[in-house]
Amino acid sequence: MSSVAQKKGFGSWLWDWLTTVDHKKIGILYLLGGGFFFVLGGIEAMIIRIQLAVPNSDLISAGLFNQIITMHGTTMIFLAAMPILFGFMNAIMPLQIGARDVAFPFLNSLGLWMFIFGGLFLNISWFMGQAPDAGWTSYASLAITSEGHGVDFYAIGLQIAGGGSLIAGINFLVTIINMRAPGMTYMRMPLFTWTTFIASAMILFAFPPLTIGLFFLTFDRMFGANFFDHAMGGNTIIWEHIFWIFGHPEVYILILPAFGIFSEIFSIFSRKRLFGYTSMVFATVLIGFLGFMVWAHHMFTVGLGPTANAIFAVATMAIAVPTGVKIFNWLLTMWGGSIKVTTPMLYAIGFIPSFVMGGVTGVMQGAAPLDYQLHDTYFIVAHFHYVIVGGTVLGILAATHLYWPKMFGTMLNETLGKVTFWFFFIGFHMTFLIQHWLGFWGMPRRVFTYMDGQGWNSANLISSVGAVFMAIGVIVLLYNIIMTSVKNVPVANDPWGDGRTLEWAIQSPPLYYNFTQTPLVRGLDSVWIEKQEGNESGITPAVPVQDIHMPHGSIIPIFMTLGMFIAGFGAMFREETSWGLPLLVFGLAWTFVCMAIRSLKDDLGYYVPKEEILEDMKRERGRK
């Protein structure tokens, strides 16, 4: 392996990225993959909005439309938002806790490739005749009757990608539990680390039900099981429960890391300690916990009976309280601070009113009898885009600007950043605000067209125009990224000037082993504390310079995932082709052999010698 890596040039560069187990590079790969799928999902969104811009539109057919909304929802949630967040968690969280790497570098890479291959698997459906078309929720009665292989792609693709998420979750959890630098107690962890922790714990408990649900779906469709076939005693409501037992926690998995990012931003750009740190942590934990108790609010109209509806309604509303605590803590962090409106801060400022509007509509939906009216209308579409786009996506865009210099060593253009913000922000409100009323006026969601004369025309048109604004914003961002990368002006450790946590005390981008010496943490916002006390480096080392243990790269994760990918196709074409079954067996065997190789080989990693580290430190001092 190493002999290949010695070769210079494109081949070795590629090999390096394919085999990397460095959390920073994996973070970048997550961003790349997630960014690609975000644009893909965004293009799908544009098609939806173009189709709905005018009544009786027959631009795309009814069947195709259903495929597009299904893929839009699935892509955005599983392949764009989550992976991008994983990207930032990977790139930043270990730095925040003063760690050299994550707990399981090999598994980290495996999780990444499972996401990528799962995403590819799902999207290959476009070229295989049919994409999934039963909605991102794939409700069972429709999903098991849906013809073609569309829903099979959904079930298997998500199974692979979901496995990757589970691995990533466990990896982050163990990293945070075991690898905090000396002095970094739980109650000194930066909020982004905390939210990563809670979101990962939620992944740990939310994804197994999805695994089982997808398994049921796969077996019902392909292997003759009867979980959801009511003629055979099955029950489709089981799918709905399982999906939402996963699905509701999933939306908090999406929002909590964004909360973490905004917590960092408010504190950095208000130059002030996060207000009410303890209650912030407590609120995060509480949201995570309550997040598992409310899933049936997606099922108020299923007919669970008034008692179940009442219980879940009240539980749902309870989440408003810890979320409110967070909102007010952010406001009070700004209050009395010294607010500098940089691009990341601009996103944070835009986030507050947007998310609150989305959150309060959520509470309205939580009122079960009112939800009988709102459910499955555009009001719901408005609600969840307000929280997802106004929360998660703004968080992602903010983090992109905030952490770009840390990850790539160069700063995104601030003016272009602000241009992106305004286009995106205005477009966002324009698209989704009006949809609340569409819901009130009786427009169901997931309709491929609507008749003229129902009073929905102009609202839909406004909504579609807004989407164009968002697209312009995203295009400006892409332009910004390209221009910035071409110019590649290097930046210092703390380009924002007010960094408070460990990641801002090391180089941008960090050395591959992160910290030359493991830092000693003496309080919350440790870099800020050190700097206030006159320690310009921002770090007090906890140990002398010594050899550093690092893991080897490995190509096995890609190969292992490839096996699953192949097995997926085998399973799907098992019945109509003769090669299906052999392919399934081959794929599984392949994966298993990769696992066995990995487990039978002793891989103990290697040491970065002390001399090299001293050398790096000298160079660093010279640069200053």
Partner: protein
Amino acid sequence: MMKGLKKWRLFSLLAALTVFLSGCGQEELSTLLPAGQVAKDQFNLLLLSSGIMLFVILVVVIIYVVALVRFRRSKLGEDHIPEQVEGSSTLELVWTVIPILLVLLLAVPTVYYTYKLGDVTAMGAVDDEGNAENLVVDVTAHLYWWEFEYPELGIVTSQELVVPMDEKVYFNLIASDVKHSFWVPAVGGKLDNNVENVNKFYLVFEEDSSKLKEGVYFGKCAELCGPSHALMDFKVKTMPRAEFDEWVVAMQSTKKDKDDAGDTAAASEGEQLFADSCISCHAVTADVKSPYPNLTTFGDRNRVAGFMDHTEEALKEWMKNPQKQKPGNEMPAFDHLSEAELDAIAGYLMGLTVEK
């Protein structure tokens, strides 16, 4: 930046204004113009919750704007180091307790209405003579069309629900193929038609639909059920009880009429053609329940197939190629029939009426 922010405010104000100018939507399908007790209860809940939410938004926005205006670095100077406040238990208590109170304020009516609207105990009630006290309608959702059966009255109809006003009408909901959801926005919230169990609820219709623009309320399928989910509309006619009773009698007598017609005059050409091609699926008497839409009242309808104009042209388009109109539906195409034959059938169907 402030200018940008102000611009946004102005913009959202304008947006809000347009929304209010265009009013509350259309009477026949807006939840904001409730036409019955259930929808009114839900509308009240909407008003209450919107009030609370607007209050919350207002509070947040006020603190937010003041903070943004007062604490800018441009005002305070580049090297101003603010005091590093840890928190404040009083404040934190305040913004824990007040939201709890607000949530309780909403939770109490929520629970109350959940039980009130979910109460179907009176559904099976019978009077001294064993007759049902309340009207019950069995709604079966099929791939892209609705069937309404009045079991006590022995009537089956499709696509258009006819109900009396000012009394609780109870519904049994089920789906015959995949899940659908039964929704009449102006009259009350939706309930799902599941495949494996019967869902029960009630609605109250308090306005006469004849004064509406098209004389009907709009009903929708609210659960993704396949390609033509968007086209799975139905219509609701509400009328005073007396009128409804007349309608029932007229419906019940369609069977007798048929027999008479068969005995006396020779059937019209359209009727003959219909009997040849269509009767295997479509019944034209209100007592027959089959897995296909019952067309007894076709002439009284407001739409063809739930969403197309109620004209002979549209009907012919439908017969010629139902798949084009409603992808995935289960009616075969009759493009082999001549134009004249289609005309005849269309004419016959348009004449099927109990109301005129």
